[in-house]
Amino acid sequence: MINYLDFEKPLAEIEGKAEELRALARANEEMDVEKEAVALDKKAADLLVSLYRDLTPWRKCQVARHPQRPHCRDYIAALFNEYTPLAGDRNFADDHAVMGGLARLGDRPVVVIGHEKGHDTKSRIERNFGMARPEGYRKAVRLMDLADRFGLPVVALIDTTGAYPGKGAEERGQSEAIARSTEKCLQLKVPMISIVIGEGGSGGAVAFAAGNRVAMLEHSVYSVISPEGCASILWKDATKMREAAEALRLTAQDLHKLGVIDHIIEEPQGGAQRDKEATMASVGAAIEAMLDDLSKKSPQELLKDRRQKFLDIGAKGLAA
């Protein structure tokens, strides 16, 4: 059963009606509702297309945060073989908001890292809702370093509201941990691919997003601040998040225009949460294609190109 978002309410009604009709028919063999149910299905499908054709930035945020959207854990399970999680920052703790380890994409060994938000109350608490503490970034630095020394590509899956604003996280040097993680991305002599699969929230996202290729799922978002946070600072009113989402240009489409990201990965009709298998297939194909492309480059080229790519960001505006 899918959870409907606010703006999907009309869709919920139609799909609900079709479901009811079919339930009635199941209970009552004489009834033939198939024709009407099919008509409702068609209506729902059309509505879904029109709702998702031009999602406003705020609606994109809602889709990106959809509780049933596939998370890092799902991608790792579906796309990689021999996943061997590696834990700990060798310093303080193992941060469950960040998962990662060795895995094979097809036959190719890689290091995969990503934020994991959790899928039910228990796992969400365990994962701290995908908000990493310093240990998470330090674990990622360790894994990226491992990848670098053994010549394995790095695949980073980004899905976080942001770094965890907690006392301990600050005490243990959250800022430094994020800075070192970004720095490590930029030092790698192996290919690095960063994909925003849901929310790319601020510094917590950047720490894994300084890759050779940065891609975003069609309805994911990537921003310097949450629309709610921006609204409360600039509009002095957190309920102006729609306006803030608009102004921040946080959609994959705008970021592609701005030259901040390289690729947009298409989602199934109605968003990744409606068809996980199709989402996995397109993300898998995108990773393969990007890795194939980068595998032709020498370690020096990978390093140099990655730096140049980031130095060049900002040269073109939205108009270009």
């Binding site: 907690g166 800022s175 510094g203 310097v224 946080l250 901040v260």
Partner: protein
């Protein structure tokens, strides 16, 4: 390069651009409430003579106080696109920029300069909190990259004074992209084996702390500066408890291993020279309030070599 283009123009600039303030004005220390003579505050580098509270100091005043004889040359910063996102909140971004420029008489939130401290040539970059909270947008990123490139070109240390409320929201994702961009600037310095010293001043927060401000070879903070990623108010809201006043202040950070030193503003200059010269393998500095390099100095490097030679002769 001849010294006239190098030194005379900025001398005149720095002499005339200082806003004249009558000597009989009083400033109230925001910390202890003592009324202080403006002239005295200025002579004291905006530190309260009664309680040692470090008040804000403009980027330009900071540079004048830092360099020998107050003389420095600004390093050009590539101008980024104005208002790249066509950002509108309650005000238009270009209007906010204009207001900030009028208020500060500066064009943006960072100044980059080259000059000498105790005859030691350095590059300095100073973030200006009074300009839209020192926020890190494309200009600040370009400024740090320009500073690093100039330092590499001239083989000089880079001293960076950070002060920022965080990212410049009106530049959205492009502001966030300054985190990797400035990290690349720091890598340029590291690869050229040049010292990168960060002086963290009040306040240094958000994405600025989580990038170039925490990647220095040496981290020095001014006393009682707020240094953090997430601000205390956000944390209090998240955890639902009140934080102690010392939380995220310089002295707290040094206790938690994030800083090398907490240094009074009056001692900064001396300390920077000492550290830079040791890391650069130079002889000890000649101390004191040295005049600006004189006409016979063809370039900063020569001046440094000469200073070193004089120093050696004196021993």
């Amino acid at each position: 390069m001849n010294w006239i283009t190098n030194y005379v123009r900025p001398t005149i600039n720095s002499l005339f651009s200082r806003r004249e303030v009558p000597d009989n004005l009083w400033t109230k220390c925001p910390e202890c409430g003592t009324m202080l003579f403006h002239r005295e505050v200025k002579a004291n580098l905006n530190v309260c003579s009664s309680c040692d509270h470090h008040m804000a100091i403009t980027a330009r005043d900071r540079l004048s106080a830092l360099f020998d004889g107050g003389i420095f040359t600004e390093v050009a910063v590539p101008e980024p696109l104005a208002d790249p996102l066509q950002f509108r909140d309650q005000k238009k971004y270009p209007d906010r920029m204009k207001a900030a420029q009028k208020k500060t008489s500066e064009s943006e939130a960072m100044l980059v300069a080259e000059g000498e401290i105790c005859r030691t040539p350095i590059i300095a970059a100073v973030q200006d909190f009074s300009f839209l909270g020192g926020s890190m947008g494309m200009y600040v990123g370009n400024a740090i990259i320009a500073a690093a490139e100039r330092a590499v070109e001239m083989k000089r240390p880079l001293v960076l004074f950070s002060a920022a409320g965080g990212a410049r929201m009106q530049e959205g994702i492009l502001s966030l992209m300054q985190m990797p961009r400035t990290t690349i600037a720091v890598q340029m310095l590291k690869e050229a084996r040049l010292p990168y010293i960060v002086v963290l001043t009040h306040p240094t927060t958000g994405g600025v702390t989580a990038s170039y401000a925490m990647l220095g070879d040496v981290h020095i903070a001014e006393p009682n500066a707020l240094i953090c990623f997430a601000g205390p108010r956000v944390i209090e809201q998240t955890i639902g408890e009140k934080l102690p006043p010392e939380f995220q202040r310089s002295e707290y950070l040094i206790d938690h291993g994030m800083l090398d030193r907490v240094t009074h503003r009056k001692d900064l200059r001396d300390e920077l020279v000492t550290i830079c010269r040791m890391l650069m393998g130079q002889s000890p500095a000649i101390r004191g309030d040295l005049p600006a390099p004189d006409a016979s100095d063809a370039s900063g490097e020569d001046a440094a070599a000469k200073a070193g030679a004089e120093n050696a002769a004196a021993e």
